[in-house]
Symmetry: C2
Subunit: 146 residues, 2 copies
DNA sequence: CAGTCAAAAGACCTGCTTGTCTTTTAATGG
DNA sequence: CCATTAAAAGACAAGCAGGTCTTTTGACTG
């Protein structure tokens, strides 16, 4: 399992916006891109999809920027994956055979299925809030890591 | 975890060549490509790498083709991954952060690390022979599945 | 040793993800 | 109501995986 850059940017951005929400309410794209060390314009498009899907709010112009809303903290990682188009990872065979299922398994089907299920459980039950709370583990400082 | 097409083709081809070795000793690229329903020329390059790395033998010309050798059956899946360039999957962060490790973990580091280790154990300890033996499970018919 | 057969090598194309830059749209503050 | 600010939208380019086709190399066979 390795996620797309889009997904990584999306998740880290949501966490970042949620984290800095205290100071000023809104966070600008420029600030996020710098903090996360991520390409600005590309990130803009990712953010845009998050806004369209209601995961974040945005305001244009003076004092504009991105902010969390009522649903942000409850959003699951799977939901973000949907938005960044990640889910073929689970729909398709590890070996990328077109026809692969329990009655017609690829050589790694059973083993892969077991591990896939672990991921799916993790991703569907973990929310943005969960990740923020769990930060006792200390990853927040590294969201913005180079 | 989702493998490249190259890896899927490589693994299935090795298994296929090992399986049909009884009839005639050598198996032609054309036959493999048809049986596995895989693009012929692209497969040719994958096979080529396997031969260069010693995983399979090949002979050109009349009655040429691919065949297994002394080491084929003992080859681990990790070894095949090396050859098809898969191992960045394990070297790099799930979220594709450049700097991500246990002291500076990304938001999914720990969970991903646990699952990665399962894969690595599986892939480093499973050999081509293991997969062939385990075929009681009945996946061989599906190597060639459409 | 000439013809044939099959792998190897190399040129080229396509689509997708990622990344960059410019222009447009919409807020807000003076 | 105009200037400024920041997101949205759109055009464009690079890089890579995957795929196709043609030419070259080398082995066997009659």
């Amino acid at each position: 399992m390795i996620f797309s850059k889009s997904f990584g940017y999306a998740l880290r951005s949501v966490l970042y916006v949620a984290l800095v929400r205290d100071d000023k309410e809104k966070t600008q794209l420029d600030k996020i891109a710098v903090a996360l060390n991520v390409p600005r314009y590309f990130l803009g498009k990712v953010m845009n999809r998050l806004v369209k899907e209601g995961i974040l709010d945005s305001v244009k112009g003076h004092n504009g920027g991105f902010s969390i809303n009522e649903i942000t903290l409850g959003v699951s990682l799977s939901r973000i994956m949907d938005i960044t188009g990640e889910n073929e990872q689970f729909d398709s065979c590890v070996l990328r055979q077109q026809k692969c299922n329990s009655t017609n398994p690829c050589p790694l089907h059973r083993q892969a299925e077991a591990i896939k299920q672990k991921w799916q459980l993790l991703l569907s039950t973990t929310t943005v809030e969960d990740l923020l709370k769990k930060d006792q583990a200390g990853f927040i400082k590294s969201i913005a890591a180079i």
